[in-house]
């Protein structure tokens, strides 16, 4: 079964507002990553947070990680219409000589102009 579960499944906000989406997972991880997917396209990596980190920033993105709760959140500040996309968390696990990326079900974000 998939490791990550995002909530909410869908989110609609006005331009300029902040968007927060959450990810929960089940077992220990090496790191957690967030990706963005525009409709009909491949995923694009946004940010990575290691298991020993609690918070990370990149531009308008802020990611937190709570390993005790097995959860992470992605905050997009001052959202823009161009942020409209689906966002996925992925947990990374060591297995059989490589790393497996387990993706969640995603949050569909719609930013209204």
């Amino acid at each position: 079964s998939q490791q990550g579960e995002e909530d909410p499944q869908a989110l609609s906000i006005q331009e300029g507002e902040n968007a927060t989406m959450n990810c929960s997972y089940k077992t220990s991880i090496n790191n957690l990553q967030w990706y963005r997917q525009n409709s009909g396209r491949g995923l694009v990596h946004l940010i990575l947070i290691r298991s020993n980190e609690r918070e990370k920033h990149s531009g308008r993105l802020r990611v937190t990680l709570d390993t005790s709760k097995k959860s992470s959140s992605l905050l997009i500040t001052a959202s823009r219409a161009a942020d409209t996309a689906s966002y996925f968390c992925a947990t990374v696990h060591t297995t059989s000589g490589t790393y497996k990326y387990i993706f969640g079900t995603g949050t569909r974000l719609k930013v209204l102009a």
Binding site: Q2, G4, N30, N31, Q33, Y35, G40, R41, G42, L43, V44, H45, L48, R50, F88, A90, V92, T94, S96, G97, T98, Y99, K100, Y101, I102, F103, G104, T105, G106, R108
Partner: protein, 115 residues
């Protein structure tokens, strides 16, 4: 710089027909390669991954197979497609290093519709 190519972009196939989707990576050597399937509005399901030529690991028992005939080429195949094989297929790569702290890089996917 590294790039990943997937083709075709869209494909409509009848039930029972064969399938071959191709993915190639440029600008890197010995990448780890991955095939995912994404159902409409859903997350990604890992199908296969490969750490080297001829080395394929399957995640889910199914009607599909994968091959890696060259270092930077990854092929997804089926001998007889089922209706349930419909979906959006994504190829991805990351560096073949013993380092988990790296992202995956995705192609633009193939939209497969089975009639």
């Amino acid at each position: 710089s590294q790039t990943i190519h997937q083709w075709p972009a869209t494909l409509v196939q009848p039930v029972g027909s064969p399938l071959s989707l191709e993915c190639t990576v440029e600008g890197t050597s010995n990448p780890n390669l991955y095939w995912y399937r994404q159902a409409a509005g859903r997350g990604l399901q890992l199908l296969f991954y490969s750490v080297g030529i001829g080395q394929i690991s399957s995640e889910v028992p199914q009607n599909l197979s994968a091959s890696r005939p060259q270092d930077r080429q990854f092929i997804l195949s089926s001998k007889k497609l089922l209706l349930s094989d419909s979906g959006f297929y994504l190829c991805a790569w990351n560096r073949g290093e013993w380092n988990s702290n790296q992202p995956q890089h995705f192609g633009d996917g193939t939209r497969l519709s089975i009639l």
